[in-house]
């Protein structure tokens, strides 16, 4: 029977300079679907939780899902799994574009990078064959220039994922950029790639992805496309305004963390909104491979200070480089976003770290002399300058490149870092959206919105409206979001489909693709298995349950403004419930029984 998996993985030993093709472990593929789940299974089987993230013993895995490269529901994702140098947790960063599908067309479900090359190299893959080639001439180049150089020297139709300067100079939140504008952004996966002297992966594939039951697959696709088109978020909001549709919404609700989360509303939110982008810099909307949502923004800036063109910004970037820094200067935000793509950095951690530095500057904790310029909230030009310095690893940019936790901690004020497990939280104030706070505290990679987007229910009312300020029942709902997300990531499907697409539709796709007979419960069980696998890795890596927390500001400083004025996060009320619905002990550790039931014991 045909299956949507290619059944092959590529193992690249960078120390030895060898590439070997291996059969994919089918049993694991069934138990973990693919992508995030299967990649994490391979990773945890092969790498010790105690591994030093920047050592050659840390592996870097690029994993597609079985549905990657097909149509039906934005099925064009891949994931990068490694141990994060920023957080020390297991990392899994997810990206779309065209590169992930091309990997499947070239015949591979997954690439495992081991060891460390003596000198810079990049990987060329062409229809089932792979080799490492020298990349000394690419080292130091931006991701844009790297891609252009590889297209001209390797294959004009190749798809490329690469690191920029940030990944080479050790920015702790360096990402891996593919197709110039798409990012496996968070947790510093690009820093690990740089530590291995691996500059890029270039793929050209002329093969295809076969399906077990084509007729059922086509029906599932027509059904899901209709669902996505009819949904107000995937069919209207995201295509029209991009993810930036949320700027005004979160601001009006009082949940837009502003000036390093000192307040929940930003007086100039309108200026950095999706609406402002549409009437200004937006040139057209864009999709990734096989996606009908089109949240991508193709933009151009012609400001006298800043010029350029590219993709983005999206919501988290507008918030991080905007509201989090008190900045309403759209051209500056867009320019810094382009820099993030060119240097290869995560704009969320970058913006949150600059916001943190701005607060430290205004409080007199860091001096103007040390930074080399003044750094007040609202200063877009300073933010752009600092972004460039960070990407190049120059001056005070080196300290920004450590992320907000290490920066604030080095000045004795770790509480000013708006992070959990050293990963900066995104654009939802947990004092307003209580479930998101629980999500930040319990996410396996640190504070993150794409590990369980309960904001969908708390703010957007999908699949049903929950009171954002309520705590009761949030733990159970969050668990479903987290487990479903783990399954979605593993299948190779974009998370944004889940505003509309239900678990039965994902099951239909998986079953038609691979001839399996998963039901809803089976999908969620796989998600639960992945979540527990990641949790166990983190516990063994020394990230104990005391780290399931939020910054003191969220727990002790009430929101000073907006509809949720006076609120703090009620995490302590929700966390015991969460441990219970997860089937973990009251100490936050998965019980032996739980692990056995998931086949993880």
């Amino acid at each position: 029977m045909n299956k949507a998996w290619k059944g092959k993985l590529l193992r690249v030993d960078l120390t030895e300079g060898t590439c070997k093709v291996e059969a994919l472990n089918e049993e694991w593929a069934n138990d973990f679907i693919g992508g995030r789940g299967l990649g994490s299974k391979y990773f945890t089987e092969e790498v010790s939780p105690e591994v030093e993230p920047m050592s050659p013993e840390n592996n870097l895995i690029m994993a597609t899902g079985p549905l990657t490269g097909t149509y039906g529901a934005a099925n064009g994702r891949y994931m990068v799994i490694t141990k994060s140098p920023l957080t020390g947790t297991i990392a899994c960063s997810n990206s779309g574009g065209y590169f992930p599908s091309e990997l499947k067309y070239a015949g591979f479900d997954m690439i495992i990078f081991e060891g460390k090359s003596e000198h810079p190299v990049y990987l060329q893959i062409r229809d089932g064959k792979a080799e490492l080639v020298g990349a000394v001439h690419l080292w130091g180049m931006s991701t844009n220039d790297t891609e252009d150089a590889i297209l001209s020297e390797f294959h004009g139709d190749a798809k490329v994922a690469s690191i920029g300067l940030a990944g080479e100079v050790g920015v702790h939140f360096a990402g891996i950029i593919n197709d110039k504008h798409r990012a496996a952004g968070r947790s510093g996966v690009g820093m690990v790639m740089g530590s291995k002297n691996l500059k890029a992966v270039a793929v050209r594939g002329t093969g295809g992805v076969k399906i077990a039951n084509p007729k059922a697959y086509r029906e599932a696709a027509l059904d899901t496309y209709a669902t996505l088109k009819e949904n107000p978020v995937t069919g209207e909001g995201l295509p029209a305004l991009g993810t930036a549709v949320l700027v005004n919404v979160m601001n009006q609700n009082g949940g837009l963390p502003t000036r390093n989360a000192q307040s929940g509303t930003f007086e100039a939110a309108e200026d950095i909104s999706g609406e402002a982008l549409v009437s200004g810099e937006l040139r057209r909307i864009k999709s990734c491979m096989g996606c009908i949502i089109s949240c991508g923004r193709v933009t151009k800036i012609t400001d006298p200070r800043y010029v350029g063109e590219g993709e983005g910004p999206e919501y988290e970037t507008l918030w991080a480089l905007g509201a989090a820094c008190g900045i309403s200067d759209m051209p500056a935000i867009i320019k810094a976003n382009y820099y993030c793509n060119e240097y290869g950095m995560d704009p969320i951690t970058l913006g949150s770290t600059i916001g943190c530095a701005m607060e430290m500057f205004e409080k007199g904790i860091i001096s103007e002399e040390e930074i080399g310029m003044s750094l007040n909230f609202g200063d877009g030009d300073a933010m752009v300058k600092l972004t460039e310095m960070t990407g190049k690893g120059e001056g005070f940019g080196k300290k920004i490149g450590l992320g907000s936790y290490r920066l604030a901690d080095s000045y004795g004020v770790p509480e000013l870092s708006m992070s959990v497990k050293k990963l900066e939280f995104p654009a939802y104030d947990p004092r307003h959206v209580q479930g998101m706070g629980l999500g930040y505290a319990t996410s396996n990679r640190g504070a993150c919105h794409v590990r369980g987007y309960i904001n969908s229910a708390e703010t957007l009312g999908l699949p049903e409206k929950l009171d954002p300020e309520a705590t009761e029942g949030k733990a159970g709902v969050l668990k479903v979001f987290q487990d479903y997300t783990a399954a979605i990531d593993s299948a190779g499907v974009c998370l944004f489909t889940t505003f509309a697409m239900g678990i039965p539709q994902l099951a239909n796709f998986c079953n038609a693709a691979n001839g399996t007979d998963l039901n809803d419960a089976g999908i969620l069980e796989i998600g639960d298995r992945i979540y527990n696998l990641e949790r166990m890795f983190n516990l063994k890596a020394g990230i104990d349950p005391s780290q399931d927390k939020l910054p003191k500001r969220m727990l002790e400083e009430p929101l000073p403004d907006g509809p949720s004025k006076g609120n703090v996060s009620k995490l302590p009320e929700m966390l015991p419930d969460y441990y219970e619905v997860r089937g973990w002990g009251s100490d936050g550790i998965p019980t032996e029984e739980k692990l056995q039931s998931l086949g993880l014991a």
Binding site: G69, T70, Y71, Y98, Y105, K180, H181, G205, T206, G207, G208, V209, K210, I211, P214, R218, A221, L222, Y225, K229, R283, R284, I285, K286, S287, C288, M289, G290, C291, I292, S294, G296, V298, K300, E309, G310, E311
Partner: protein
């Protein structure tokens, strides 16, 4: 009149669903390299371009085929390759100035868009933005002309 796939580049979002749908239906797998419709993305220029065979009235591929394997069917206007007659000589590939007929290694035959043999073309079925439509009438052309007409109309004063 002949049915054709009508393409409006302004509506394209660069998702390449047309390539996926075409190859899945006609080659039995999701393989853009096997698609008979082609979508190219130029992000820096903010242009997305889709092209496919326009079923020429006087096709270069037909005229060039030494085995008469390519014919333009008069009723539908579709230019098709008869796989029984095709010997895989690639003369048509060389003759078509648009690159819209190609040789497929796995079959050893020439391959091109046949408008899905009378079904609604699969690329049109799956195109999410109606960038692709199918019809006898060139409606996108009519729309373009009407936009121009309306610009003229708006500029007219009462006499």
């Amino acid at each position: 009149m002949q049915k054709l796939i009508r393409i409006e580049p302004a509506k394209c979002v660069g998702c390449k669903t047309c390539e996926l749908a075409c190859s899945f239906k006609n080659a039995g797998e999701f393989a853009p390299s096997r698609s008979r419709i082609f979508n190219e993305v130029f992000v820096e220029e903010a242009k997305f371009i889709t092209v496919t065979c326009m079923q020429c009235d006087d096709p270069w591929c037909e005229k060039s085929c030494p085995k008469n394997a390519i014919t333009k069917e008069m009723a539908s206007g579709v230019v098709t390759v008869d796989e029984e007659k095709c010997v895989g000589c690639r003369t048509c590939v060389s003759a078509c100035p648009f690159g819209m007929i190609k040789y497929v290694d796995s079959t050893g035959k020439a391959d091109k868009c046949d408008l899905c043999k009378g079904d609604t073309p699969e690329c049109v079925v799956f195109c999410p933005t109606q960038c692709l439509t199918v019809g006898e009438e060139d409606k996108p052309l009519r729309q373009k002309m009407l936009r121009f007409v309306n610009t003229m109309k708006d500029g007219q004063m009462e006499v």
